[in-house]
């Protein structure tokens, strides 16, 4: 069968404006987060000029780097209408495993990073298999994995701690070194971020993740390999978390059993604040990364302003609720606006 074009398709003006409306809404989300970020930084800088000296900026970027990585991994899962609550534990396990592996001996940085990725990928494989093939709800599976991995980590560590003195200099250099004044960690995060964004946008497999999150039923009828894609999303989230664990070791040198304890919720908040809908199907990893940057910057700013750190959590919570409410309202309004446009 051939597609015969009888006349060029005259895309109606209203249709075009409908699309630009949607674009505008999503861009508005990213712009407003960026705006809030700028305001926050400016305000803190005025109150405490040291906030933006060389070291201050470096600290901001370093603090954000790991959360951004985790947010990227989490986004990929959330886009498919799932969730991965085990990321905090995975970071802990991977950091400890890498620490054990390197203590006393220098295996080279790349081997360490690879080990982190493998540890994380194995965790992701387990969660992903249970969710995709076992059809167990993601919330239950990953909550279970959170405790299982944490327990495993405690049992292995037995209260032991890995100190910076045990970690070879080559690994620590990765955490503290920089190129052209830019620390390695944020550069790595940006690279992973950009790569993921590109795949999500430009490859069939990436678009299919959105399809699954938007309508699983339609995805099934369209022949999307749902289980394979969901498994891959978990595998990716696990691998990225494991990678982040290795970077954690490089950054801090000191590692205990419950390193990233409680981070899973921060990561989910960052993702949702960044505009990835918790019900799947929409959002970008760029937005999620901005969300992560905003949350860590709030933490840093409050520390600089000498405000109790628990306020950071409260603010993160408030932002999360606000983001979800905004999502909901925007969703309703946009549907209505699109209906009106197509009604004419």
């Amino acid at each position: 069968m051939t597609v015969t074009v009888e006349k060029p398709a005259p895309a109606a003006e209203t249709e075009r404006s409908a699309r630009s409306l949607v674009d505008a809404v999503f861009r508005a989300r990213e712009i407003s987060i960026a705006g809030a970020l700028v305001l926050l930084v400016l305000f803190t800088w005025v109150a405490e000029p040291r906030f933006l000296n060389d070291q201050g900026v470096k600290d901001l970027l370093l603090n954000a780097a790991i959360l951004v990585l985790l947010a990227v991994g989490q986004s990929v899962v959330v886009i498919t209408r799932n969730i991965d609550l085990s990321v905090g534990s995975v970071v802990g396990l991977s950091a400890f495993a890498c620490g054990k592996f390197v203590s006393g001996t220098d295996h080279g940085v790349l081997t360490v990073l690879l080990l982190g990725v493998v540890v994380g990928a194995v965790c992701g494989l387990v969660s992903g298999s249970l969710v995709s093939f076992g059809k167990v709800p993601a919330l239950v599976v990953t909550l279970g994995m959170l405790y299982i991995i944490q327990g495993l980590d405690y049992w292995w560590a037995q209260g032991e701690q890995i100190n910076a003195a045990d970690v070879p200099q080559s690994v620590l250099d990765l955490g503290s070194g920089s190129v052209l004044g830019l620390p390695y960690l944020p550069l790595i995060s940006i690279a992973v971020l950009a790569g993921t964004a590109y795949v999500l946008r430009t490859y069939r497999s990436g678009r299919e993740l959105y399809a699954i999150g938007s309508s699983p039923e339609a995805a099934r009828l369209a022949g999307v390999p749902i289980r394979r894609r969901v498994l891959a999303a978990y595998l990716f989230s696990g691998a990225v978390s494991g990678f982040a664990g290795a970077l954690w070791l490089a950054r801090f040198g000191t590692v205990v059993a419950d390193n990233a304890h409680g981070w899973e919720l921060t990561v989910v908040s960052a993702v949702v604040v960044g505009g990835v809908a918790i019900v799947g199907g929409t959002g970008t990893v760029w937005g999620a990364a901005l969300g992560a940057l905003l949350l860590t910057t709030i933490g840093s700013a409050l520390a600089v302003l000498k405000v109790d750190s628990f306020w950071a959590d409260a603010i993160a919570g408030a932002l999360l609720l606000a983001a979800i409410s905004v999502d909901r309202i925007v969703n309703v309004r946009m549907t209505r606006a699109l209906r009106k446009r197509s009604a004419r």
Binding site: V3, E15, E217, G281
Partner: protein
Amino acid sequence: MSQSVPVLALKGVNKSFGAVRALRDVSLELFAGEAHALAGENGAGKSTLIKALAGVHRPDSGEVLLDGEPVVFHGPADARDVGIAVIYQEPTLFPDLSIAENIFMGRQPRRAFGRIDHKAVRAQVAALMARLGVDLAPDRPARGLSIADQQIVEIAKALSFDARVLIMDEPTAALTGSETARLFAVVEALRAEGAAVLFISHRLEEIFELCQRVTTLRDGRWVASEPLDGITQDDLVRRMVGRDLEELYPKQPTRVGETALSVRRLTREGVFRDVSFDVRRGEIVALAGLVGAGRSEVAQAVFGVDRADAGEVRVGGTVLRPGSPTAAMDAGLALVPEDRRQRGLVMEMSIERNIGLTGLDRLGRAGMVKRALERGRASDWAVRLQLKYGSLGDHVGVLSGGNQQKVVLAKWLATDPAVLIVDEPTRGIDVGTKAEVHRLLSSLAAEGLAVLMVSSDLPEVLGMADRVLVMHEGRLVAEIPRAEATEESVMAAATGLADEGRAA
């Protein structure tokens, strides 16, 4: 043509879902260059048959033959890859993704390194839209599309690849006359190029217009396969129903009582304006008009699902609080919505639960629901509406479309309403069930219920309504009494050609 090997065929196929035997020893042959109709009442197994051809369901026994060779489809992708395109009855789109992505999901044209060629995707979609003669921008998200437009996206999806077999399950249910004509022209062109077509429609005229052969199913069994040339519509209906069809529009004469529903100057910006009408007890009033004229929107606003910007609604003399379906229900309004899957039913819940939903406070005490009361209510209504089901505990989703509609009706009739608003009460429902729904509406009106019926099915409007209100572009343009209502008079008003004689 039938001397050659069929492109796609089913041989002795059986399929059961739990205790329900959906298909029993069914065979079907589709030939290249032939349009084949599949006829049967709702629940006859048509949708299951299609899903067996499309790789959604695996037959329990029997074979699917492709070019005479047995094949096994492990999923919809397998069927698609051998050139089987399916348009399902209910559009299933990705609301968050663009129309272009909806059409090409999983099959996007690619550039080097497997990257999606977004430009090519858009261009091909634009070409498809031009071919279908519609104005839908490829980049627009599917969210908020009307059902007709959603159906068009589904059709474009099916046309977007080299289909050897095109299967269409009720593609025209939501389309207007001109859109249907367009679709048929495209199908004819495909057929001339050698594609095999399987077509399902409840509109028998369409079957006779488009197809050469017909296979009839009844209760999951094969009844007949024959050329359409030698048979009449009545013959076909007899095969489907297994009995002669009595009156399809059994309108009883009723005594019209006092005004039950009174709508004054109801307005919703950009949707409809200045709509006023009354519905009296014992009356069936039809709200007719073209797709997009604002009929359903008026119904929604009257019930309070959508908030009207101005105007008032009175039920039995009391003014309704705007934007509150609860208030509307308390006042005795009931709304059977157009989209029963999304709005009429909770698909994952059982039949009895669904029927019980509108009366939770009456089905027990202190916020607790008594299962016995719930079941009693459900079985009463199931009997009254002649619902066909396995068990009241079954998911509503397993019922056929007509029976789902009966559940929605039961759910609302159980609230003992004074005014019943039904939006497209028989869309996608077979002739047999359609007649049952009509008989039910008619007897309800005879009992003194006021019925407001939104419908785009013209024979239904003419056959059932005491009065016809016609909308055109968001305004009520005519009120036509039963005696004067003809296809011509209603269509003239609906297309805006009416002389302003009886403008409401």
